[in-house]
Symmetry: C2
Subunit: 605 residues, 2 copies
């Protein structure tokens, strides 16, 4: 049975040293943050994840969710754990104090989210989506919703969902059929079928607040195959009056749950909206008229805010499952005895040495560590940028661009790497990894969805290449290249050279690839499409490489000064070297692939 | 629900054109082979796989095997399908005619095996292991076994297993505890526990013949933690007399079946041997004496023969699951509509274009095709070498070396790539790929075991680097390099240059890496261990690249002459180009990784 120890030390290192917490007190939500507070919160969250959530992970997978007569029952123990989770305040950490939250910055709430996911990805999806939903509702909802609904969600009394996908379309939301018709009282009647709705129905809370996109028909009742009439709605399972009073059951019901490869404790629902009462969020749209040209939709904006949060959260899922799989691969390697070290027995008194003596096993485990810790640093850096973007600092705009640029990288690169890490850790277990009782294969099955949902990784790559790179004249990649270059120039010296040089080379390659894309992608968009996945990976490898170089610097400084935990910093240097030696060489290859263009791929019949 | 169409055209192309069937009639088992016979057999096997085996794949996964009171029941339909399989003669195709088989060469029997695996990997493991078992028994058994037992197995009336792994050891068989004690009548009494025994117990046949390795204790009843006393035994579930009469139940029972990530229709059994009557196979060993030095064991040899066949078979599983997943990814891409082509709508009358218009989707599918067909060519080439090795040709010895060298590459590289292909095909399905009903995720779960069993892929890499490279002064890699070089020198010309050049570069890199390993691996074995996985992949990419260059040449010739199916050869050229443009660039990166050595990896604590 797998176990989990939250990486509190690494998170503390990242927040206090790597992000230099003490220098950030001018940022929103950072006023009260201190190393002690960070320590305290992380330690308590770790305890909860390890002791309450993790023990339900394997049983939740084995049992799955139950569906009967429209009612969904979560696996045994989930309901009590959810209650304890909310009571301990984990659900409300990041919410503004005005809504009953603790107002903590995202670098801290995401660290805690990571722990929850490592311990139990399925469970963590219920509060995870709820917090994305309450954030969206707080940003776009009417005052009475902020007064009566958001606080309930912040407290965890009610859960939230996000409803986008329909049976015939997920990526291509233009084809959505769900419609919302305005009523004289200003509400809407919403009808249609949404699928793959995580937590669409369950027994954790009395009410569920669905955040839904739907199209408003034109004057003739017609809907269009484009995004022009898409709007963002709130549809509670039980109606809520403007006075906060909970009323009758709304016209939304669960038509069934999916049987999936993994995340079986998370109820993935078909939701049927049948004249459900819906409240439009955001500004009132101009009704579209027959024959009118397509106009852009304001309604997608609210959902995009939610989606960006969710994408970041999925990237964290990539790290989180990688982390817990790695831990359990490592502990098996220190338990199982197989053969002898290639240089002669390490323990001659034993019939065989531990698995950990074998270079190939070490390679797989170090790969996991190097990914998990490097990715965590990048996620943290990106989330600090999100806070800076909301501050009054001069670099606020640049920070926003960087965070925006990193979102598809974090989502796609981290979930690809997280899936690989889960597979490598399972591979360390040999045939025993394939046996369900041992719990390793669950990590692989759970991690697999992360590459697909919230925009499949290929869609993320197209978002990066097709939207994020070129926006504002390429300001975002420019800001990134400048930031890395600035750091490289400021950090010469022999000791850091093994880290600075590969990152400099990688950055050069990334810039060349970016140039190639700029030149060819406009001439032939298929060249951009064919290159997108490799380009995203290239950017991920280079930026994580930069994170490792920065962490290596801190490690060297601490080791020189003799401060802190020596073993911790030494291990950081080893993992940093791994990334330089074994991941950075991919850059040149990816650049070659990118330059191959689209001719062959488009010739494929 | 997935479907399957056996790639008969590709297999015919490979056997008749690529392997030049007409020039091979001097080889053992090739005398009767003709294009017509090949066509006939492949067509009929395809029909059986598509119509009988494939429809049971998903239901078999859903239902799994049942265990009750020591009895194992296979999923619904398996028993009838197995009966039909044997009656149609598919089980006996490769067996010598003396045993009731058809005596067909392995290039043909493995093609048919591939179809069975694509259609139903779990089902195919029962006859697959049976044929490995009857081959081993025919090679090592006594005359009465060849007379009474092998024919029953060839006919499929009885199944066979291979029993190696024990609870505490799989890779490190030195630690085996199962013991066999000689009896006055020359038989042995065998006791111990074997785990992960595929088809160890089931309801397909009346009898099961277990091929078991166990240790013969020394005069004091002691067994040693080495391979010196390991012997190879036959242990039938129901005893068989030397007259062929079936007697009482033997002392072997099934203690349970494993609940696994995939291949759920294949019963993975715990087998308890409790004073089971066992027949030693092969020459009688010298009994080991207390205090004696370790001597090598003859008993492993028989099992190694079986293991090599099984490893080849697992490599074919990599291809097979890749193929069927690819087919179903492709068909979805021609069904599902998402967005518009980047260069403007392909079907302006439709609300959206087909998924296949998108470069990134095409990239994933072409990757699968390029792997599957390239790997199939390499497998076929290697199996032809196995036949040549058994012939009187001058190049027999060299062919044997090449086939031996390719075994770990086929096992590990093909199963890694097959797993990736299954994942890519599933990714094409977006979120729908994660839903069990759609059958795509089963391919991923089934394909995952192939990387692990019959020697985890890391063990294969160590076998390649630690054993196969250096044997006979490096004769095997030398033979490979010469063969590729010879072909490259004989095939210049502008038309082939896009294929010849990358293979020449790749070969150069492979030779450099081989040299590096020779120099560093002896000085520091950990350098070899740290490089092994990357080296195996490098060799796989280069050799498959060579196969693609050779197929490209045939395609170009046919297209120039206007012979054969134009679309087929054009598609071959596209897939060949894909390999050159997107896989061959990995070579330089892998070489860089190899040269990184083991220092960082061994520093990992």
């Amino acid at each position: 049975m797998p176990s989990y120890r939250a990486p509190v030390d690494d998170m503390k290192f990242l927040i206090t040293e790597f992000l230099e917490l003490e220098k950030q007190s001018d940022l929103p939500q950072f006023e009260e943050m201190s190393p002690d507070l960070v320590d305290d919160i992380l330690t308590n969250a770790a305890k909860f994840a390890e002791e309450v959530l993790q023990p339900l992970n394997q049983s939740g997978d084995e049992e799955g969710c139950h569906f009967e007569n429209g009612v969904v029952r979560t696996p045994k123990g989930f309901k009590d754990a959810y209650k304890a989770y909310c009571e301990a305040g984990w659900n409300s950490l990041g919410a503004p104090q005005a809504f009953g939250g603790s107002g903590l910055p995202i670098v801290l709430t995401m660290a805690i989210a990571e722990m929850g996911i490592s311990a139990n990805q399925s469970f963590s999806m219920y509060p995870g989506l709820t917090s994305a939903a309450y954030s969206a509702l707080a940003a776009t909802g009417a005052d009475w919703m902020k007064q009566h609904i958001v606080p309930k969600m912040v407290a965890g009394e009610w859960c939230g969902t996000m409803c986008l996908t329909e049976p015939h379309c997920g990526t291509d939301l233009r084809l959505m059929k769900t419609r919302a018709v305005e009523q004289p009282d200003g509400t809407y009647r919403l009808s249609g079928t949404k699928i793959f709705i995580s937590g669409g129905e369950h027994d954790l809370t009395d009410n569920i607040v669905h955040m839904v996109i739907a199209k408003i028909p034109d004057e003739n009742g017609k809907i269009y195959d484009d995004l022009s009439t898409v709007n963002f709605f709130m549809v509670p399972k039980f109606l809520v009056g403007e006075d906060g009073k909970v009323g009758a059951r709304n016209g939304v019901s669960c038509g069934g749950i999916e049987h999936k490869m993994g995340i079986k404790g998370s109820a993935t629902c078909v939701l049927n909206f049948d004249d459900a009462i819906a409240w439009r969020l955001g500004p009132k749209p101009e009704p579209r008229k027959e024959g009118q040209k397509t106009s852009s939709s304001a309604g997608m904006k609210g959902m995009f805010g939610m989606m960006n949060m969710a994408r970041l959260g999925v990237g964290i899922q990539g790290i989180a499952v990688g982390e817990v799989a790695y831990q359990n691969g490592l502990s098996y390697a220190y338990e199982r005895r197989v053969g002898h070290a290639l240089t002669g027995p390490k323990e001659p008194d034993q019939p065989a040495d531990l698995l950990i003596v074998h270079p190939d096993v070490r390679r797989m485990l170090l790969h996991c560590k190097s990914f998990v810790e490097g990715a965590r640093a990048l996620a943290m850096w990106s989330m600090l940028n999100m806070s800076i973007a909301r501050s009054n600092r001069a670099e606020a705009q640049e920070a926003g661009l960087l965070a925006d640029l990193m979102t598809p990288v974090i989502k796609a690169f981290f979930t690809d790497m997280g899936f690989d890490a889960a597979n490598m850790a399972m591979q360390v277990w040999g045939g025993h990894g394939y046996i369900r009782d041992n719990g390793m294969e669950q990590f692989v099955r759970d991690a697999r969805i992360n590459q697909t949902y919230e925009g499949a990784n290929g869609v993320q790559a197209m978002d990066l290449v097709g939207r994020k790179l070129g926006r504002k004249g390429g300001a975002a990649p420019m800001a990134l290249f400048n930031a890395i270059n600035g750091w490289l120039e400021a950090n010469g010296g022999d000791a850091l050279a093994p880290f600075v040089k590969p990152v400099r080379d990688g950055l050069g390659t990334l810039q060349q690839s970016t140039m190639w894309l700029a030149q060819h992608g406009l001439q032939n968009p298929n060249d951009a499409g064919a290159a997108a996945t490799d380009y995203l990976r290239l950017m991920g490898i280079v930026v994580v490489g930069w994170m490792w170089a920065r962490m290596a610097k801190l490690a060297q400084e601490n080791l020189t000064k003799g401060t802190g935990n020596k073993a911790f910093y030494e291990a950081k240097l080893v993992a940093a070297k791994y990334w330089m030696e074994r991941m950075m060489p991919e850059c040149a290859m990816l650049h070659q692939r990118i330059q191959a263009g689209s001719e062959t791929i488009m010739a494929f019949a």
